[in-house]
Amino acid sequence: MDESRYEEWLDLWSEDALYWVPCNDDDIDPARHVSIIYDDRERLVQRVDRLKSGSVLAQQPKPRMRRLISNIEIVERGSAQLTVHSNFILGVARGGTQQIWAGRSIHELRSQGDSFKIARKTVLLIENDQEIPLLQFLI
């Protein structure tokens, strides 16, 4: 994600993927309430296609990014499914400033072969109810 290896990132997802960044609060109903990101597999592919197209103005020039992931915790372990919580902090450097993004990620992983696919990733931004700058990268 920090190195724009978009295809490899896309390969991590299941076919019925859901990539969700709620807006205003962590437990909104996405059928009644707007989200910051609510991507099914099709839109996830579009997001990556757009980022790869070179047309995203906020990616010109490309921001430098690096994130730390910590407090990784398996909170649920099924026979073929894992739910994993983690915290992240992400630095984004661009246009003379450094933005800091922070939040909690919830990964629902499904076993496939000898590995896992991401069936669902929810990102709870600590800033999801604040006035935020553009989020034109993968969070």
């Binding site: 807006c23 205003n24 909104i28 996405p30 707007v34 989200s35 995203v56 103005l57 700058p133 989020l135």
Partner: protein, 424 residues
């Protein structure tokens, strides 16, 4: 006092209008604290006690439905020592209690009691210390506006010719009513507030440049191909409405409907529109884009949402995107509107972020003072001016932007507001 008269000259405007802090200071007095400003929609405060915290210019206000059912707008400031009485963004409250010394007001704005009241002179009248209401509040089709100034034209006069287009937007709802309790995507950008209305209303011109990839993705997804709007320019689309309002009126710009069979929900929605409006108007609503509307100075109606422009300083602006649900439309239609909205708008959308990046670059570029003038002349040679003072132009013309600036210049040149009155 800044004189903007010579900074706006027909087809050219001066860069300092976006950059000069004294222009921004003047705008607060001459625009934000004078004219009608949009503060919220009735659907946000359906029950007695419901409130939302908003701002007019830099002044914090509370929009609240009182226990008596009446909608009021108050300055969010305690009458004792001026602290903020309401710090929550929204909620329901029987009373607002100032956290500083506990002065408490009903949701109708009346002071219940100054705390430890035995220490006040017996002659102190509670009635003199209610929350200060905005002097003027009015609404149109659920859109609530307020004005800091006690005098001025009525809301009806202010909206004037733009009401017809607000009606058209509302008509997308089978009940004629909308619901904006959908949350708010909140953004900030390092640029002047005026970039937002200008850029939001001229997408047909900049679209082929900054939104090309996103438009292609969108037409693939929805089946609606908007590229026809700029491939062959359509006359009579761009409207400048007296009062500084701008409209993109697509009634004559039919878009090829999707080839695929409409879903049962879409069919039910179409049938509901036909029942309410008749087949002819329903067909028009279903095959054209709803008008894009800017109501001077801070309200935009754009496809999926209401957008509110909130100035912070000369080079910083907040923007609030609130998706609009159509009351009594099938759930699938409304969920589809939310997903469409997220595709296009918000910090992580595929369209509006490119606009915001452009605005930030615009703010930087306008410090270059080699030639200070911005040119807004597209279509000026073929402006069609109507008897009511509005003008209409082709899809990529800038007649509405010229109209915006003419109105802006007029408002900014009016005599300054009287200094705040003493007493009361």
């Amino acid at each position: 006092m800044i004189d903007v008269g010579n900074l706006i000259q027909g087809t050219r405007i001066h860069g300092s209008l976006y950059r000069d802090p004294s222009v921004f200071a003047r705008e607060l007095d001459a625009i934000w604290y004078k004219v009608w400003v949009y503060v919220g929609h009735e659907s946000e405060i359906p029950r007695p006690g419901d409130f939302v915290r908003r701002a007019i210019g830099l002044q914090p206000v509370i929009l609240v439905r009182g226990a008596d059912g009446k909608i009021r707008v108050f300055f969010n400031r305690c009458r004792h020592r001026g602290n903020m009485v309401c710090h929550l963004e929204h909620g329901n409250a029987a009373a607002f209690r100032c956290p500083y010394h506990g002065w408490t007001y009903t949701n109708n704005g009346a002071l219940i009691e100054p705390t430890f009241s035995e220490g006040y002179d017996a002659g102190l009248r509670k009635e003199d210390f209610g929350l200060t209401p905005l002097p003027r509040v009015d609404s149109y089709r659920g859109l609530i506006f307020a004005s800091v100034s006690p005098e001025g034209i009525s809301l009806d006069e202010h909206l004037g010719g733009v009401k017809e287009f607000i009606d058209l937007f509302m008509d997308l709802s089978p009940s004629g009513e909308i619901d904006v309790r959908t949350g708010i995507q909140k953004l900030r950008y390092a640029g002047n507030w005026k970039f937002m209305p200008e850029n939001s209303m001229e997408g047909d011109y900049h679209g082929p440049f900054i939104h090309k990839v996103a438009f292609a993705l969108h037409s693939k997804r929805t089946g609606f191909d908007v590229s026809s709007l700029y491939k062959n320019e359509i006359p009579d689309v761009i409207r400048s409405i007296p009062g500084g309002h701008m409209v993109e009126d697509y009634r004559k710009a039919t878009i090829e409907p999707p080839k695929r069979e409409p879903s049962p929900a879409r069919q039910a929605y179409a049938a509901a529109l036909e029942r309410r409006y008749g087949p002819q108007k329903a067909a028009q609503l279903l095959t054209t884009i709803a008008p894009l509307i800017y109501v001077f100075p801070n309200l935009l109606y754009l496809m999926t949402h209401i957008r509110v422009v909130q100035p912070v300083s000369v080079d910083e602006t907040y923007v609030y995107y609130q998706p609009v649900l159509l009351k009594d439309a099938p759930d699938e239609i409304n969920v589809g509107r939310l997903r469409d909205h997220e595709f296009m708008f918000g910090a992580a959308g595929f369209i509006s972020p490119d606009d915001i990046e452009i605005m930030e670059r615009n703010q930087i570029a306008l410090h270059a003072a080699g030639n200070e003038w911005l040119f807004i002349g597209r279509g000026a040679h073929r402006d069609k001016v109507l008897p009511d003072g509005s003008s209409i132009g082709h899809t990529m013309d800038e007649n509405h932007i010229r109209g915006f600036w003419q109105h802006y210049g007029r408002v900014m040149s009016l005599p300054a507001r009287e200094p705040a009155r003493a007493g009361a």
